[in-house]
Amino acid sequence: MHQAAIELIGINKSFGAVHANRDINLEVRRGTVHGIIGENGAGKSTLMSILYGFYQADSGEIRVNGEPTAIRTSNDAIAAGIGMVHQHFMLVENFSVLENVILGAEGAPLLKTSIAKARSELRRLESEYGLEVDPDAIVEELPVGLQQRVEILKALYRGAEILILDEPTGVLTPAEADHLFRILGQLKEQGKTVVLITHKLREIMAITDTVSVMRQGTMVATRRTTETTVEELAELMVGRRVLLRVVKDAAEAGAVKLSVKNLSVKDQRGVTMVDDVSFDLRAGEIVGIAGVAGNGQSELLETIAGSRHAASGTVILDGMPVDLTGAADPGELRRRGLAHVPEDRHHVGLVLAFEENQNAILGYHRQRRYLKGPLLNIEAILADAKDRIEKYDIRPADCRLKTANFSGGNQQKIVLAREMEQDPDVLIVGQPTRGVDVGAIEFIHKRLIAMRDAGKAVLLVSVELDEIRSLSDRILVMFDGRIVGERGSDASEGELGLLMAGVEQREAAE
């Protein structure tokens, strides 16, 4: 039987003026894990979406197991044994796991039978791959890690022989990621083929057999993983040498800038998300909050930033208490020198439909310098926007461009630039590098360190343990809404991992 599971030959795809894929050739051998890396907007997702029939290529040929296969719709792809876990999950959020899994693969016109069938099938897959998830849970109530499982289950349920994962670990903790990779290994054992898109070169080295590099819509190189190095890949991607380690000298922490005391937060359903949390944040230090996604870090961040109401407790900013029980006003906090880089740049940090320059003032649009009386001071706004595009090397350097058309990395830079350039005393940052390519990561990390060295207080929340460890001067670990431990930046990954898993509690409990 033919060696290659997939062959892409001369694939071209344009979105309007953007030539997202040009003359791409790619061969993926059966039974291997094939990595694809590249800058934001390099065309990875597009290429895979074409293979999955979500987009149609303008030209080019697709072969599956050597057979030229016309893939016009996702249906054709599924029929050809291809499954895909999309970067932005393709789930119906108010549906149960089960409903999401059977959608499109129901079989009978009546659900009764198909649901029963799916149930047992799910149980099988769970036990086989250790993909536990409550089939009757509503998806939007599941943490992202589990939501991704649902995506994987969807693919396996359809009997995928070729599994594509687009940035699967962007939202996962190390533990979850390891688990995912174990599953991928298992699939490989079974002779299935895996294509993995990621920005994390470590993962590439860890589990791929082959890796292809994309840049600006073209396929620039393909290497045997054993025959390449992280440095080489990074350089191939970005087209220049990239410094992958963060260099920083010891922090000299100053006065307490932000002090959180016995803070508790409930969500709209009344469930306690943040439970009696206290800590201090000093000038000139970066405090990292580690934790598995969904353990209250996000809520903690939002509450401190004033976009969420607290149930009890106090937050003191620069010696002055912040009103958290009433209608906390983010604008007020900004005026008091607290800047916030939210986790969700697509829906919270940015208005994707705005021109870049309009996003450059989001939240600061009430500042005098952006106003002429009730009018906006367009000149000032454009000037600032241009200035930042310059400073932060945001590409394309066009402040009139619709924000949706910037790549994730650049979208992230737009947010960072906006918040940092306000020269705040306290900067709180959520998932600064999620879904962002190495080039951008390097840049963003440098910036955060610079902030610290300039004597600013930085609070960093990230599910990337590496990031936490390499940036933070102190590390707080959150589990189940509580801070379960504090460690120095020298803490080992294993140690933190255990804390994040809440192991210590259980021991304490016993």
């Binding site: 344009s14 979105f15 309007g16 003026a17 953007v18 030539h19 997202a20 040009r22 590249g38 800058e39 934001n40 907007g41 390099a42 597009t46 149609q56 303008d58 840049r215 600006q216 819509g217 930033a305 004033g306 976009s307 209608a327 006003d329 983010p330 604008g331 900004r334 916030h340 939210p342 969700d344 829906h347 919270v348 940090g349 940015l350 208005v351 994707l352 439909a353 705005f354 309009q358 989001l362 939240g363 649009h365 009430r366 106003l371 009730p374 009018l375 906006l376 367009i378 590409r395 394309p396 058309n405 790549s407 994730g408 990395g409 650049n410 830079k413 962002v436 390519d437 080039g439 951008a440």
Partner: protein
């Protein structure tokens, strides 16, 4: 949207495509005209000439346009904040109450140029008030704005009937309407404006509220794209989450937006009442609020687009009247069909010919074809 691809020049985007759509709309309408045994080409000529041919026609066209500019702006302002104000009809109706109160009180005392500003305030205030309650309910109680505004249209009708057959009706008169406004409550006509350009206007209701409408259109442009408030409205309209993050108060922005929307709707009342009929009569709004929805969305919620769409509808109203004068077989209902077809083809189907036109451009002038830009990478 696959190759060949051309980024259309603005004139094609905002001139050619709408024109093509309009032509198609008229062709289909022509078929309907053919059905009733009239000559579609003659009909088209009569319609266009009737609307733009003579000064008289132009005056009427602009008079109707004035009404639709107000209602169109009203709907559009709300749209920018992500709200669907289907209650423009009722807000305009109640706005008429504001006009009535002011005019009945002052038309004997003040000259028009003093009554007018007062009436503007009265109409705007009443319209805003009528939008305030649904807005407040939406913001505070989460009651869906569409239901409440629909309900408020009906309630407005009842209130106006009550007042116009009771308190506001002169005893002697049979008609459910206020007494005629005296000179102080009558807006001067603008027909001289048209005569300035050589058109002849014998008598037409075209009046100064047209200028107010244009001013409001300009004001809306400033509001939406040039003021902080407009910025906040658009932010909330696109992403309530982002608005919250940016420290924009949901309650405030919804209420303020709806009140502006209601005020614009209310001002519509000035045109038919002070401008033309010189009284406030039952059902003087006559569906203009619903036409406003079409006008706003066809104008892509942009003041300029709205003014153009409003003139288009003014043309259909006036040209339509001429048509049924000239062609007895073409009744007013035929005009309604034609309006519907225009809304369908020039509005809902606006994208139908875009791809083919883009392909055409690409093949005709490779220059204008968008250069294959690389995916912008970080």
């Amino acid at each position: 949207m696959s190759a060949p691809y051309a980024k259309l020049p603005a004139w094609a985007d905002y001139g050619l495509i709408p024109l093509v759509n309009l032509v198609v709309a008229f062709i289909v309408a022509g078929l309907v005209v053919l059905l009733v045994g009239e000559n579609p080409f003659r009909a088209a000529v009569i319609l266009v000439e009737g609307a733009f041919g003579r000064g008289q026609g132009i005056a009427y066209t602009l008079y109707y346009a004035t009404t639709f500019i107000f209602t169109g702006l009203s709907v559009a302002v709300a749209v920018h904040c992500g709200l669907f104000n289907i209650g423009t009809e009722g807000q305009a109706y109640i706005g008429g109450l504001g006009v009535a109160i002011v005019c009945l009180a002052f038309d004997s005392l003040l000259p028009w140029w003093l009554t007018f500003p007062l009436a503007i305030l009265g109409a705007a205030a009443m319209g805003a008030l009528w939008a305030l309650i649904p807005a407040w309910l939406q913001a505070r109680r989460g009651s869906h704005i569409v239901i409440t505004t629909i309900m408020f249209n009906f309630i407005a009708a009842s209130i106006m009937v009550y007042l116009l057959v009771g308190p506001l009706k002169p005893l002697a008169s049979q008609a459910p309407q206020t007494r005629l406004f005296l000179d102080g409550g009558q807006l001067p006509k603008l027909n001289w404006l048209i005569e300035l350009f050589g058109g002849k206007v014998r008598a037409a209701p075209f009046n100064v509220s047209f200028l107010l409408a244009l001013f409001m259109a300009w004001l809306m442009w400033v509001l939406i794209w040039r003021t902080r408030l407009g910025y906040e409205m658009r932010t909330y309209g696109f992403s309530p989450k982002a608005a919250r993050y940016a420290g924009i108060s949901e309650t405030r922005i919804i209420i303020v937006t709806m009140m502006i929307s209601g005020a614009l709707a209310g001002m519509m009342a000035l045109n038919p009442t002070m401008g033309d009929q010189h009284n406030v009569a039952i059902d003087f709004v006559n569906g203009a609020g619903f036409v406003g929805i079409a006008v706003a969305l066809m104008g892509r919620s942009h003041p300029l687009g709205i003014v153009l769409a409003a003139v288009l509808f003014g043309m259909l109203y006036q040209g339509g009247a001429e048509l049924s004068f000239e062609m007895p077989n073409i009744s007013r209902d035929m005009i309604v069909i034609i309006q519907g077809l225009v809304i369908l083809f020039a509005g809902a189907l606006e994208h139908m010919f875009r791809p083919s036109i883009q392909t055409l451009f690409a093949t005709l002038s490779p220059k204008s074809a968008g250069l294959a830009v690389n995916g912008e990478g970080a």
